[in-house]
Amino acid sequence: MVEVFENVWIVIPCYNEQAVIGKTVNDVLAAFKNVVVVDDCSTDRSADIAFKAGAHLCRHPVNLGQGASLSTGISYALQQGATAIVTFDADGQHNADDARALVRALFANDVDVVLASRFLGSTKGMTISKSLVLRLATIFTRVTTGLRLTDTHNGLRAFKASAARKIDIKQNRMAHASEILHEISSKNLRYQEAPCCILYTDYSRHKGQKMSGMVDILKDLFVAKLN
């Protein structure tokens, strides 16, 4: 099993997370060998802290958004010869054991993508309004992509390298979560869900998506349809 993890790369998009990025990188490095942090032009010390903690570091010269950071990180991992790529949030709400379970499922079940679901697993400290919005987003995505998923906006995902090469993230900002699912659907990638635990802390609640972000996401998706 060890060799399965040898060339797995963890991609962590990061923007102004100096309070937590060091711990997140340390936790992930305890479970995986290769971690790349994509610093989206943070104005704090996130990049230094991540690099000192032992992560590879890519830095955007201008702030582009989380979608662009994932895209950069995935390209970097592929350049380094990744066999599988896991996307992981910087704010400490994911845990590395879930990421390992995703990778195991990826290779054991012969699928292209494994998506983590907090609704198959568990959540700690999620607000009711957050839960409601996520469930609405899930219904919206089920209708628009036809994918049968229980949690559509979870940053924890595992891709085989072949699948990661096919997925083209054009949405720079937060609409990439829906875009990735559209790519999975339109390119007929084999997918499955795996349970994960999400830990909501005061920090992640504060840093996470605001409900108003939903309007921006829908706008970005609508504009993308026009082009």
Partner: protein, 111 residues
Amino acid sequence: MIMRLFLIWALLVLTLYAFTQRTRSRLISYVMAIAALVGMILVAFPEVATDVAHFVGVGRGADLIAYLFMVIAIAAIFNLHLRNRLLDQRLSELAKSFALHTAKSPHDDRK
């Protein structure tokens, strides 16, 4: 009379500008030149605008010009929006490739 001369002068400048832009975008340069020429005709013979307005079912010539101006302005904003998106995309590609080229590995000695 002074206003007329000023408007015609401004529209002439616009026509010349449109002429210099024809290598960048043929379509936009033609549209701009035609709009400026039509504008000059309307400034010189304002009654034409009223006749045309009556013909297409708008009350006054001035209203017709206001409507046309709105359509042109909206088209111009849309065009700018598309250009802006294109520039955004290019900037993203540039920034991503910069990030990949300047990436640092913890195993690197040349930190």
